[in-house]
């Protein structure tokens, strides 16, 4: 029985190997196993084939067939880029992300935006919340002043008003930069990643307040390549990527709680709720600034507002107080 040569895809994730082990690899292995030789996805980690800043273009041109990333990290030239990764206070729980995409219409907006660039938006999923991990304890907003912190561009832009000095360094240099005193902390992930990638070894304190409850990331594919794949394999890919979103739901959710309570390396600190409410209020102003930039952005912000309004009114367990 002659079997056709398998379809081979190259996928590159924004994540380095240590993190990719959890956020991407299991789903790809699962897909390859079920596809049983009809198709094989080869997984590459951050910067392996092309640098992350050129990731989108490489997918657009077909050098890479598929990508796992947030919009912000790969600098997608779309109207929705600023919402990828962490958009301040847009979500509280990781379940918010699939709800926003599937029930509140973000999925359509993302699909349309990427279709314009010849890219297929396969699906969106949630990662971890965005917390500070620092070398000195943070107990009030004042403690944040003058701290050199590694964070996302959008988050950095937002946090600058509280005296934070956002610093950009290559991701791999963060651990060393913390060790050698170039950085005072990071606002990049939840506690699970802090432990997984080794940052917990070089920081001492973990701030329980977060500026976003869930990171938004996606699976994308080059549209032409996607069209070449038979329908049943397209469906399989969708299912496996959904499975990856599900894996991350419990991996992060369980990990965040467990490491806060049982993790040996980081001491927890908190900023009082009343004080943190001023940061949340500042985020609303920030939203309006972003909404004023374009029609699409206004539409997305509108959806965030509507959703958070429903959550606030619905009471426990959606929102407390």
């Amino acid at each position: 029985r002659a079997q056709a040569a398998p379809i081979r895809w190259r996928m590159q994730t924004y994540a380095g190997a240590a993190l990719g082990e959890h956020v991407c690899k299991p789903a790809i292995e699962l897909f390859n196993k079920i596809a049983a030789g009809q198709m094989e996805i080869e997984l590459y980690y951050a910067d392996q084939l092309v640098p992350t800043s050129e990731l989108f273009r490489a997918m657009q041109s077909g050098t890479i067939d598929a990508v796992q990333s947030d919009d912000d990290s790969m600098q997608s030239p779309t109207e929705v880029t600023v919402f990828g990764g962490y958009f301040p206070f847009a979500s509280r729980y990781s379940l918010d992300v699939p709800v926003l995409f599937n029930q509140y219409g973000l999925k359509q907006i993302w699909e349309e935006e990427y279709a314009k660039a010849g890219v297929r938006h396969i699906s969106a999923g949630a990662w971890d919340p965005c917390h500070f991990a620092t070398k000195d304890p943070i107990n009030s907003l004042k403690d944040l002043e003058g701290k050199r912190v590694f964070t996302f561009p959008t988050a950095g832009r937002f946090l600058a008003q509280f005296g934070v000095v956002p610093v950009q360094l290559p991701w791999e240099d963060i651990q060393v930069a913390l060790q050698t005193g170039e950085l005072d902390g990071i606002a990049w992930s939840g506690i699970t990643e802090d432990y997984t990638v080794g940052w917990a070894d070089v920081t001492k304190y973990f701030l329980t307040n977060n500026i976003s409850g869930a990171w938004i990331g996606h699976f994308f594919a080059n549209q032409d390549r996607w069209n070449e794949v038979p329908e049943h394999l397209q469906a399989l890919m969708e299912v496996c990527f959904e499975q990856s979103h599900y894996y991350r739901q419990w991996w992060y959710w369980g990990g965040e709680a467990d490491l806060r309570v049982n993790g040996p390396k980081l001491e927890l600190t908190s900023i009082p709720d009343e004080e943190w409410a001023t940061v949340e209020a500042a985020a609303r102003t920030f939203w309006d600034e972003i909404a004023a930039e374009s029609e699409t952005k206004a539409k997305v912000v509108e959806i965030f507002k509507k959703y958070n309004d429903v959550m606030a009114k619905s009471g426990r367990p959606y929102r407390y107080g």
């Binding site: 800043s53 050129e54 273009r57 041109s61 912000d72 990290s73 600098q75 030239p77 050199r148 561009p153 950095g156 832009r157 600058a160 000095v165 956002p166 610093v167 950009q168 360094l169």
Partner: protein
């Protein structure tokens, strides 16, 4: 050799020499930027732009200086066999293998032009807080690679002249 080829070699090499002599001093710009980074961190608020500016300067240094470094013969060759050949044999082999250099540079240039066009199209900016536009540095890369490409063609012409027993 035809006069226009000789002129081409003369003009190209003169341009590359001058561009390279200027690019050569970018190392001091690089050092100054990094020194400012040390000073601003020690005495003021850490500067947000120094690291990227330094990276851009370094790229300018070795890309714009690339053609001049080719003229200087700074790019190492494995001379196990090559070193034992006569100048004529060397020229004959180079006439064939120079296409590797030309092809490699042309590929970079092609990708560079596409990437630059893309940078203009979407107004591409770096994702740091400083957010510089990316088009200028991509133009620098394209320019430097283009000059190196011209220089490679000069080598080809010179090698053909050597085989014909002429000197340019």
């Amino acid at each position: 050799m035809p006069r226009f080829l000789v002129m081409f070699v003369r003009i190209t090499e003169a341009v590359n020499y001058r561009v390279g002599r200027i690019a050569m001093y970018l190392i001091f710009v690089l050092a100054a930027v990094l020194m400012w980074s040390v000073i601003s961190k020690a005495f003021f608020r850490p500067a947000l732009w120094t690291q990227e500016m330094a990276q851009f300067t370094m790229v300018g240094y070795f890309v714009l200086g690339g053609a001049y470094s080719l003229i200087l013969g700074a790019n190492v060759r494995m001379d196990l066999l090559y070193g034992r050949w006569s100048p004529k044999t060397q020229a004959a082999v180079d006439i064939v293998t120079i296409f590797a250099l030309i092809f490699f540079l042309a590929t970079i240039l092609w990708g560079g032009i596409e990437s630059t066009a893309y940078a203009f199209e979407v107004g591409e900016r770096s994702r740091t807080v400083w957010r510089p536009y990316m088009a200028p540095i991509k133009i620098v890369i394209c320019t430097g690679v283009f000059l190196m490409l011209l220089q490679s063609v000069c080598f080809l012409i010179r090698d053909i002249a050597t085989l014909r027993g002429e000197r340019i």
